[in-house]
């Protein structure tokens, strides 16, 4: 299952490296990661998509919280939120298929942001599903180049930042997906 986590961190040199290094070292699977400024000066906001199960994500959150520069972590997977991704796609065009492509882009509420004789750049903002859908269609015409931001998200409604305590201690009853049978001892001397 995919989880959406949001982390806020002090905007210090190397903080991104600390986070990605920790994720790599602990063998966590990141699908996407996006960083940018938050509403607070000096605090960056990072959105992760992590693939795993409840227990692993609990570990991810706790390990993130141990990174000194990270000030807060939230799991918004199960909370109503606005989730968006932006993609820029350069698609090959010919005189024959140009209008068809424009139509498809319009249906997906995308935008043509650059046009040349052989290609167009399409911009789309939306849920990952919508972005995936448009890309799937455009592949038929030949995608020359593409960039996706990865997921960014905001929880809907009002959020009281100070009061939300997000890392619940993992309780044994939470889920049983995780198997200990596969865990080996290290075999080191």
């Amino acid at each position: 299952m995919k989880y959406t986590l949001v982390a806020w961190m002090r905007d210090k040199p190397g903080v991104l490296n600390r986070v990605s290094g920790m994720m790599r070292r602990r063998n966590f699977n990141i699908d996407s990661l996006q960083v940018g400024r938050s509403e607070t000066e000096g605090i960056s906001r990072m959105t992760f998509v992590v693939d795993g199960n409840d227990r692993m994500v609990d570990q991810v959150i706790k390990q993130l919280r141990k990174v000194v520069d990270i000030t807060r972590v939230e799991d918004i997977t199960h909370r109503p939120s606005v989730v968006r991704e932006l993609a820029l796609i350069r698609v090959a065009v010919t005189a024959d298929n140009r209008s068809e492509i424009v139509q498809i882009v319009n249906i997906y509420r995308g935008e043509i942001v650059d046009v040349s004789l052989e290609s167009m750049v399409v911009q789309i903002v939306g849920s990952e599903d919508r972005v995936d859908g448009l890309i799937g269609l455009l592949e038929n015409f030949g995608i020359l180049e593409m960039v996706r931001t990865g997921r960014v998200a905001l929880v809907r409604g009002t959020v009281n930042r100070r009061l939300t305590n997000t890392t619940a201690v993992w309780k044994a009853s939470a889920n049983g997906q995780y198997s200990e049978a596969g865990r080996q001892t290290t075999g080191g001397v």
Binding site: G14, K62, V68, D69, R72, W170, A172, S179, T185
Partner: protein, 599 residues
């Protein structure tokens, strides 16, 4: 900055609220004085020279003593020994590039075992950063995975706060290593120093709030248990609660198994102590784990050395996990009752809720298992050959009456396991060893650090012939530090013993790369002007220890033990902890007055 200001015998420490102008180099030492650091372990070089120059004033008036190491790895191990034996933050210092990379093994060793440490390194000047300048290495990048936190300092204005944060982060919560990499020009720059600023680290939560409900739930489980067992780790010592632990286990009659780092959490001669569990734990300790109905894990992290095969670990037990570090809860073993918080808070909160109980049947069962083990334990037989368990037991005999107990520092390998099995640790914190990382070469330098911090205590380093040769250059420190009285026992079996044991058991006795040649250790010691002895027979052992203990200054004993001896019991990797290989029965052999081990 005027030189004269340095030479004046400054008040120590300076008023933290009064800003003073000084160089970055001086700030390093001024911060240490404020932190109560009296000893640092290090090695100089170009990028840290300004700091060394500023150190002279602090050395001259005795505020800070610098111990010169022979390899930077050992600076970290010494700071580690200093920190573990006192609970204070250990400090090591090195220059840039190769020196900083040399430190890494020592930092990782300390971080793995939750040892509070601050490491200071010099870095190339800020304008050369990133240019592959001479002796530049990305120290912050390289040490990030082995540190609790680290800093690169490029502006002298930030230095005082960074130093203060470094000590704070290293010490508070679950202790760990913080490295501060300081560019050379920052050391030379002048800035304002004060030390009364507030630390504002919104992301650092050293002491999570105790959950009183969880404590009550734990107490309830313990009170209702018929076959309870405490599994106590390093956290008991870090929390300073071994007294409270003893009070609790005596009141409710709870047997105690410890982890390697939890050795001595309750006195090992106490009837409720079952010693260490796990890979080389006694069979009765591991059986206790597998058969208890409530496992009270305290300040430990369910390392694979203690759990063995995870899905078969303590299957009959409800598990209560007392732990300060939230990330350890549920990482390896999912507890039924997690009790998050500092043991210094949670254990005293638990104590009044624990009822007086007796567990006669359970203890009787454990006693029978223990007697079963005793019958085959080689230590209970007279053996004509020199075998390591006997040497260790004699070390205990010769040091057991020492006030507060001797500090024993072990290296890594078979001797380390024998020490934990056959030395009877009656004091918490008596054993210093690299448990998490398993760093060979740890014993001698860590013993030096412990001795520097505890000049009046008896300190023994116990090492194998392999590990000792990894850091033996530090013998020079014993002399340079005015005959520092560290005693050294080399358990010399001609092999990298623990690896040889694995080759014997899992690789059909193909001893590839494990026979290890040794120099004549007595001559070696002589070259370092350290008195030394060779011991080859059991009957020489007591007198040798006596002589070592009674000789002022350092002493080295080379114990030429029987070569192919294995550590038992042994739980092979991937096996459950009660599937261990038991000790073979000693056999009577012709020509011996007693029995011979059948290894």
């Amino acid at each position: 900055m005027s030189e004269s200001a340095e030479k004046k015998p400054a008040q120590s420490p300076l008023d933290p609220g009064e800003p003073r102008r000084m160089t970055g180099a001086q700030m390093v030492w001024e911060a240490m004085v404020h932190e109560g650091v009296d000893t640092v372990f290090g090695h100089p070089g170009g990028a840290i020279l300004p700091a060394y120059d500023a150190l002279s004033a602090y050395e001259d008036d005795g505020r800070i003593h610098h111990v010169l190491v022979r390899h930077e790895q050992c600076a970290a191990h010494m700071a580690d020994g200093y920190a573990r034996s006192t609970g204070r933050v250990g400090v090591c210092i090195a220059t840039s590039g190769p020196a900083a990379t040399n430190l890494i093994t020592g930092l990782a060793t300390a971080q793995m075992d939750s040892v509070p440490m601050v490491a200071i390194t010099g870095q190339v000047p800020t304008d050369l950063l990133g240019t592959d300048a001479f002796q530049e290495s990305d120290v912050v990048g390289a040490t990030q995975p082995v540190c609790k936190h680290n800093y690169l300092v490029t502006d002298v204005r930030e230095l005082p706060l960074i130093l203060k944060e470094a000590f704070y982060i290293a010490r508070e919560g679950r202790p760990g290593v913080v490295l501060v990499d300081i560019c050379k020009d920052v050391q030379n720059a002048t800035g304002e120093f004060r030390y009364d600023m507030e630390i504002d680290l919104p992301g650092f939560e050293p002491y999570p709030v105790m959950d009183a409900d969880a404590v009550a739930q734990a107490a309830d489980l313990i009170n209702r248990s018929e076959r309870p067992l405490v599994l106590a780790g390093h956290g008991i010592q870090l929390g300073g609660v071994s007294k409270e632990l003893l009070e609790m286990v005596e009141r409710a009659e709870l047997p105690v198994v410890t982890t390697l780092l939890g050795t001595g959490n309750i006195p090992e001669s106490h009837p409720l102590s079952l010693g260490m569990g796990g890979m080389h734990g006694e069979a009765f300790a591991n059986r206790a784990i597998q058969n208890c109905d409530v496992l009270i894990a305290m300040g430990m992290r369910f390392d694979d050395r203690i759990t063995g095969r995870l899905d078969r670990f303590a299957r009959q037990a409800k598990i209560i996990h007392f732990e300060l570090d939230k990330a350890e809860v549920g990482k390896n073993v999912v507890p039924d009752v997690p009790v998050i918080g500092d043991l210094a808070e949670t254990l005293p909160a638990l104590l009044p809720q624990i009822e007086e109980r007796r567990h006669q049947l359970w203890l009787q069962e454990l006693k029978e298992w223990r007697e079963d083990t005793t019958q085959t334990d080689i230590i209970n037989f007279e053996v004509d050959e020199l075998i390591p368990p006997y040497v260790i037991r004699q070390l205990w005999h010769s040091t057991k009456d020492t006030k507060e107990g001797a500090i024993v520092v072990t290296d890594v390998g078979q001797h380390q396991m024998w020490e934990s099995q056959y030395y009877i640790h009656d004091h918490a914190g008596q054993l210093l060893t690299s448990g998490g990382l398993g760093t060979m070469g740890y014993a001698l330098p860590a013993a030096i650090g412990a001795q520097m911090a505890n000049p009046d205590r008896l300190v023994w380093a116990v090492a194998g012939d392999g590990g000792f040769q990894m850091t033996l250059q530090e013998l020079a420190v014993l002399k340079q530090e005015r005959d520092l009285p560290v005693k050294i026992a080399i358990i010399n079996n001609g092999f990298l013993g623990m690896v040889r044991q694995w080759q014997q058991i899992f690789y059909d006795r193909r001893y590839t790369g494990t026979p290890v040649w040794s120099p004549d250790y007595v001559k070696l010691a002589e070259a370092y002007q350290i008195p030394a002895l060779i011991v080859t027979r059991p009957d020489q052992v007591p007198a040798a220890f006596e002589q070592a203990n009674n000789t002022p200054g350092p002493f080295l004993i080379d114990f030429r033990v029987r070569e192919e001896v294995n550590v038992y019991p042994m739980v092979a990797p991937g096996k459950a902890v009660d599937e261990g290989i038991r000790r073979p029965k000693p056999v009577v052999v012709q020509g011996y007055s007693g029995v011979a081990p059948s290894w």
